[in-house]
């Protein structure tokens, strides 16, 4: 069914209003989630077929927990968009590490909701009471990676929360180490807070560069670090605990000032922890996002404290699919969840070959 004039606008206005609220009830969340589900069921044929296969329709689904969770592979195999993709101003793509060159695609008709969601939660979890901070970004900019949701996220951070001195310290030749060192030194000398943001593996490369020069910093009060993405599929993996220890020691910060953002191309909202004094740390989403831990086979919620696959219901995902099923394993906590890694499948035992292992060897 072609999308009716103004439908998208009306829905996004409701979502924006919901995001702006400071208090929302379970019922309000449920109502809006079901409203988005009905919208997606009506306007997204691929999603509709998926729901029918699961025998779930807006008629039968009464609780947000019952909205079919689309596995993230669906973003690779199906076209999950209510608005015709030609009319979408932006498409974010996954890096495609697990299935070779097939990339998941998340279509955004516009980024109004995405940006509002990012700003509100980023302010609360990373900026806290501060309005702006000098930022150093160790990730490519949006021009270099127009399809990266992370590049857009970091651009939003700089644009909305960065002082004029903020800058990118990564280009197509790698980390601009000399200018970054100069900036860090300047921050340390001036006593002006500095925020370093980037992909987790960029920090590992940065460690190597700084170690070569035997450099360490003591960043001023109010400084902090945001890393995201983890190390899966990177040339060098590092234990999470060692990573935060090294981060804290290299930049002279408390581990509580080292914040990890957990985000996905398939979502429009991010999760944050409140620092990494202990790992794994509790990740929390905002009031327009709810997460459940489900059994991989039945899709039912697991008992509190048991391991499950993370399913997220993100009200900011208005154009694709409001509930997604990730491949990440976690356990629930009172106000969030612990991320335990990816559901990697099994190592083949003995001489029999299992699909995941094959994929790994094929991509090696």
């Amino acid at each position: 069914m072609a999308i009716a004039d103004g439908d998208t606008e009306r829905l996004t206005a409701e979502i924006l209003a919901f995001i702006e609220k400071s208090m929302t009830s379970d019922e309000e969340f449920n109502n809006l989630a079901l409203r988005i589900f009905a919208h997606q069921f009506a306007y997204n044929p691929a999603f509709q077929r998926f729901c029918q296969m699961r025998a779930k329709t807006p008629r039968t689904v009464k609780r947000w927990q019952d909205i079919p969770a689309v596995p993230i592979n669906g973003f690779k195999d199906l076209t999950l968009s209510c608005v015709p993709v030609a009319d979408c101003t932006r498409v974010f793509m996954t890096s495609g590490t697990t299935r070779g060159d097939i990339k998941g695609r998340h279509f955004h008709p516009n980024l109004t909701v995405y940006d509002a969601s990012m700003k509100k939660h980023f302010q609360a979890c990373f900026m806290k009471s501060q309005k702006s901070v000098r930022m150093g970004i160790i990730f490519p900019n949006e021009t270099m990676m127009p399809n990266s949701s992370l590049a857009h996220y970091l651009a939003l951070a700089v644009k909305n929360f960065g002082t004029t001195q903020s800058a990118y310290y990564l280009d197509d030749t790698g980390i601009k180490i000399d200018s970054l060192i100069a900036a860090l030194q300047e921050a340390q000398d001036s006593g002006q807070a500095f925020a370093l943001l980037g992909a987790s593996y960029s920090f590992v490369h940065l460690f190597d560069e700084l170690e070569k020069r035997q450099l360490k910093f003591k960043l001023p009060l109010g400084s902090r670090i945001l890393d995201t993405g983890g190390f899966k599929g990177q040339s060098r993996e590092i234990e999470m605990n060692d990573f935060y220890e090294q981060l804290a020691q290299t930049f002279g910060l408390a581990r509580s000032q080292c914040i990890n953002m957990y985000g996905m191309t398939e979502l429009s909202t991010q999760f944050y922890d409140a620092g990494n004094e202990e790992v794994p740390s509790v990740k929390r989403g905002p009031h327009w996002m709810r997460s459940r831990l489900v059994d991989p086979v039945s899709g039912e919620e697991v008992a509190f404290g048991d391991r499950g696959i993370l399913a997220h219901t993100d009200l900011a995902n208005f154009n694709s699919t409001v509930t997604i099923l990730t491949e990440d394993v976690g356990t629930a906590t009172q106000d969030g969840f612990l991320l335990l890694g990816r559901a990697q499948g099994v190592e083949a035992k003995g001489c029999s070959m299992v699909v995941d292992e094959f994929l790994r060897s094929a991509s090696a």
């Binding site: 691929a46 592979n73 086979v297 035992k349 003995g350 001489c351 070959m353 299992v354 699909v355």
Partner: protein
């Protein structure tokens, strides 16, 4: 045995109290019985190695093959006897340690042991040695001279644990060629080899120090390097990454035999798909899938079913689904780990997405089922699935089409379970052999390789020996040094 703790291994010359024991590591969430593995020091391992070398040359190399077969036969007869306490110990321990259904273990074990009785063992030897006496003493060669086959003085066997009792193959092979050995059990199935070693010694006390069953944490470089240094050959079963790691520690003078990843599949041609015969084929196929929950390298992962028979490939898939459903009543699938369950769910989802995209794909059954059949009308290449009774049925029009689909996996191919007419069988075998398949068996027999099979196309016994030739020149020259005048 203390009922609550099973101590893994057979450690000649070492008393239990001289060894430090740790709980069996790894994800053995099924296990209800406490299992402990020995942590040997390099010195202890080397002492065992020297002991095994010495004793096997004294007590194993001096027996004839027939005498050895008699001992193994007695041991196997004991294990075939449901009232024997060793058999009972296996039936008590294996389900708990491996997670396999106890009925599956009971039936599987008996069926497997049948291949190791005396007549089968004699055939096994003859398979590799037309004249079995070559292993006993120098035998005259047809074109002058003499030859003898000598088993390695010490072989290190590194076993996999995907299917229970797998080490029996290599233990028997080593014994048949009179080779001393140290076998390393896997954390997945450390039981059978430990029990079998003790049983052999109970029957033939002279073998007390001729072999050992040990455990170490894979990748223990110091221990591995020292042990491999003492060995004449190292034989390992496992994933390619594990094999590469082992290979990297083997000194140049030690021979390495690696059995790596393999993938197997089934073929049903149109001639086997008559109205009634087709159903029988799906029964056999279901057994191949259900046995050991597809954990063996010989277990099928895809069935290629030819079009043109009375039973279409799609109907075959439906029948297979029904057969797997009824087998679940008698042979339960073991409980899956979280990761296994996730992998299976992902596999189903991927095929469901194909269905949604309009591919001619059918995913049968419900996500809660303990089995999964996916049918594809589109010719899909052979690819490994998530195992645990998950099978892809692919329709093919011709053998040429099938060969093209399996060819990309050439290096990994092992067993093809076949249902075809007599006219088709050998021409089909020619094609399969040419692309890399090393074993062609009947549908329904995929998980029971015949005694003396060429595992991954290799020789089970010949690969374990070194041949010693006395050339004719030596014999001829000797003639000039007789005590008597010629």
């Amino acid at each position: 045995m203390n009922d609550s703790v099973f101590k893994v291994g057979y450690l000649p010359g070492l008393a239990a109290q001289d060894v430090s024991w740790i709980p069996l590591p790894g994800p053995n969430s099924h296990s209800t019985i406490k299992v402990e593995v020995p942590q040997l020091s390099a010195a202890q391992m080397l002492a065992i190695a020297d002991q095994v070398k010495r004793s096997s040359s004294l007590h194993l190399k001096t027996m004839t093959v027939s005498e050895i077969i008699r001992v193994i036969d007695k041991a196997v007869a004991r294990l075939l006897d449901l009232n024997d306490h060793h058999r009972q110990k296996l039936e008590a321990l294996l389900p708990s340690v491996t997670g396999f259904d106890s009925e599956m273990i009971r039936l599987g074990l008996t069926n497997y042991l049948l291949s190791f009785r005396a007549p089968q063992l004699h055939r096994f030897v003859t398979e590799d040695f037309a004249n079995p006496k070559l292993i006993d003493e120098f035998q005259p060669r047809a074109k002058n001279g003499w030859s003898k086959a000598i088993g390695a003085d010490l072989g290190i066997h590194i076993w996999a644990g995907n299917v229970p009792a797998l080490p029996l193959w290599s233990m028997v092979c080593a014994l048949l060629v009179k080779s001393g050995f140290i076998g390393k059990v896997s954390s997945g199935e450390p039981v059978f080899a430990s029990v079998f070693a003790a049983l052999l010694v109970e029957i033939e006390p002279r073998w007390r120090d001729c072999f050992a069953v040990v455990w170490w944490k894979g990748g223990n470089s110091e221990l591995e390097a020292a042990t491999f240094e003492r060995a004449e050959l190292v034989l390992a079963y496992g994933g390619n990454a594990a094999l590469a790691q082992i290979r990297s520690r083997i000194p140049p003078h030690t021979r390495f035999l690696g059995y790596g990843h393999k993938i197997s599949f089934g073929i049903v041609t149109a001639s086997a798909l008559g109205t009634r015969k087709g159903k029988a084929c799906s029964e056999l196929a279901a057994l191949d899938i259900a046995r050991w929950d597809q954990q063996g390298c010989y277990s099928p992962q895809v069935f290629y079913v030819q079009t043109g028979g009375a039973v279409t490939p799609r109907i075959f898939a439906e029948q297979l689904f029904t057969e797997l459903a009824s087998l679940e009543h008698t042979l339960h699938r073991r409980a899956l780990s979280f990761e296994e369950a996730a992998s299976l769910a992902t596999y189903r989802q991927a095929h469901e997405f194909e269905m949604l995209n309009g591919s001619k794909r059918v995913v049968f059954g419900e996500k809660h089922d303990a089995w999964c059949v996916v049918y594809s009308d589109e010719a899909l290449p052979l690819l490994p699935g998530p195992l645990n009774r998950c099978i892809l049925v692919v329709a093919v029009d011709s053998i040429d089409e099938l060969i093209a689909l399996i060819k990309p996996q050439s290096r990994y191919l092992q067993t093809a379970g076949v249902a075809a007419s007599p006219e088709e069988l050998l021409p089909l075998a020619e094609c399969l052999g040419a692309v890399g398949v090393t074993r062609i068996c009947a549908l329904g027999a995929m998980t029971s390789p015949q005694a003396g099979w060429h595992h991954d196309g290799r020789f089970s016994l010949l690969d374990l020996v070194r041949m010693v030739d006395v050339e004719y020149s030596a014999e001829s020259l000797a003639e000039s040094f007789t005590r008597y005048e010629l």
